[in-house]
Amino acid sequence: MTTTPKTITEGEHPILDYIRRDRLPHIFCSACGIGTVLNAFANALRSLNYDIDRLVVISGIGCTGRASGYFAADGYHTTHGRAIAFASGVKVANPDLNPVVISGDGDLFAIGGNHFIHAARRNVDMLVLCINNFNYGMTGGQMGPTTPDSAITVTSPDGNIEHPFNLVSVAAASGAVFVARWTALHARRLTKSIEKALQKKGFKFIEVISPCPTLYDRYNRHGSGLDVMKKYRELSVIRNFTDPMKAEIDYRTRIVCGEFVDTEKPEFTDLLAKQAETLQQR
């Protein structure tokens, strides 16, 4: 499974060198945003000529949890919610490795919420790409920590009464050094943010709002995947460096997108190495 960059021949998809060809076709539904995000990630790797040997793609459970299995790099599919804890082990044990976590909103913020806030607090070097489709897709469309007010899911059949997380706000409050939000419509801007994040050290978080035409958007009568993308275009406003607390996400009014946080803070494994070096000289 080596990935030696080669010249692209006519008719061949430019990201194929970054993809496990023997795993195609993928399992994602037509019009789901996961494919767009994986494409954007592969394009970012390609445009950076990223060192694939040092990349470890890690995911949890759920639709997005399958993402780690499609890249021609080292990959690991953890149990539900644990991708970030696994990535912390990888980075601390071998700081030359670059873990990237790609997982869903339920995986990262319900069952995995504790790992998210603590890895962000420690500022462990990793990129976390969260595909937020507002529900648990793999298990049939249940409500989760991002399901909006009043939304219909199979476990909130009369309308969701829980208050959802604003993920970029959680990430910023927990200490992430880079925080961005895009929708699956913003493929190019998303790719640029991934490129920027991959070149930055520390805990980076990018949320991508994604259609779930099979479940969430169907139960809530949002129309086809294309209709949802049209709605994203209508509702999205780009407000870079807006306060993440105020970066609203409302399918009835507007979705605030952009890069909200881009700051510097000492990274955990750097601090560990620095401390160890001092101790070893004693």
Partner: protein, 382 residues
């Protein structure tokens, strides 16, 4: 820089001996969460690891600790965590993942009284069955039970070696007595310590199948960053590591995960037989309780009683052949354990009701005294 192997004689605690054993075995990553009575292991690792080029991280809970250990092991570093029963309850999710992705790693469980929060500062041996099948699904792990501070050191090294050889999570199941007791520890010179490392792939990356086992049923293990670009998942998978949801994939995988331990039982198990050759009464005891039993057996021998002690050192897989030898002349088998009856079931399975098997349970946080134990034995056999 400090030495990884502190060769010499020291007077120390069981928990610290486990930490030093891990370092001597080559452990360079520890992730943990504070819990009584295992915290001293984390404290020792937090102090020692950065001084010898390793890394310590205190995680947000035991789930994260165990998962970070799996990630670190896959990154090529020998890795360990240490906890007690409540922590293992949380780690069981990841222990299943470690079994499924064939991860070499060591877990020290310094057992305390349960259920639930139980008796954090008191001794117990009530996680014997939790260690075997605490996670869901069919699987086998290895578990070793030390009876002294020296064995905390020696068996932690052995646990690393077995986990590397068989790519399986391996427990050091200590009780609070052994974890907290202090006695002499002899650390041998570094070059006298036997170290086993995981098998590495010998084929180029394009030919590497990460879950294709050799004849010993264990696949060679590449680690992240070596250019093998492999994928591992907790889902049922084929030799490529890719998820496969059919009967054949489960049939090819799960029996192998069990059989790599079951078919190598003779290479794994260890037990200590004391005065068993002519023993008509056989006591089975392990960990802290085995020390009491040893005294009781020796005292009774001095009075002319034909009594012996069988001490399993490997508890999983269970050393059944050794037990059969120890019990060959026995008319009574008595299992003394600091729980309400756990390993006794395994002893009964081996003895098969050919001779009476009696349980001497104790769930109150302290071991029997030798006299108490002898009274319990007498009560059952006279």
């Amino acid at each position: 820089m400090q030495k990884a192997v502190l060769t010499g004689e020291i007077f120390t605690q069981g928990d610290i001996a486990a930490a030093e054993g891990a370092l001597a075995a080559g452990c360079r990553f520890f992730a943990g969460y504070p819990i009584t009575p295992a915290t001293e292991i984390a404290e020792r690792m937090a102090y020692r690891l950065p001084r010898i080029g390793g890394r310590y991280i205190q995680m947000e809970d035991e789930i994260a600790s165990c998962t970070a250990v799996v990630g670190a092991s896959y990154s090529g570093v020998k890795s360990m965590t240490a906890t007690s029963g409540p922590g293992v309850s949380l780690m069981n999710e990841t222990i299943g993942l470690a079994v499924m992705t064939e991860t070499p790693m060591v877990l020290v469980n310094v057992m305390r009284g349960g259920p639930s929060t139980g008796q954090p500062t008191e001794a117990s041996q009530s996680d014997i069955m939790q260690a075997k099948w605490g996670s869901h699904g069919d699987y086998e792990i290895i578990a070793l039970i030390p009876s002294s501070v020296q064995e905390m050191f020696d068996l932690t090294i052995k646990a690393f070696n077995l986990s590397e050889q068989f790519r399986v999570p391996t427990f050091v199941l200590a009780d609070e007595i052994i974890g907290h007791m202090r006695e002499r520890l002899v650390i041998p010179p570094e070059d006298e310590i036997k170290i086993v490392n995981r098998k590495k792939p010998t084929v180029p990356p394009e030919e590497y199948l990460p879950f294709k086992a050799d004849a010993d049923l264990v696949p060679p293990m590449a680690t992240f960053g070596e250019g093998y670009h492999f994928y591992a998942t907790g889902l049922t998978h084929d030799e490529r590591g890719y998820p496969v949801m059919d009967d054949a994939a489960q049939l090819a995988l799960v029996p192998r995960l069990c059989d790599k331990i079951r078919k190598n039982v003779d290479k794994i198990t260890e037990a200590e037989l004391t005065e068993t050759e002519d023993a008509e009464v056989l006591v089975v005891a392990y960990g802290g309780e085995a020390r009491t039993a040893m005294r009781a057996v020796k005292d009774a021998r001095a009075k002319g009683m034909k009594i012996g002690l069988f001490r399993p050192i490997t508890v999983w897989p269970f050393p059944k052949e050794q037990l059969k030898i120890a019990a060959s002349n026995a008319q009574h088998v008595l299992v003394a354990e600091l729980n309400y009856g756990q390993l006794v079931g395994e002893v009964e399975r081996v003895i098969r009701h050919e001779i009476p098997v009696h349980l001497i349970p104790r769930v109150c946080g302290s071991p029997h005294s030798p006299d108490e134990l002898m009274k319990e034995i007498r009560r059952r056999i006279d």
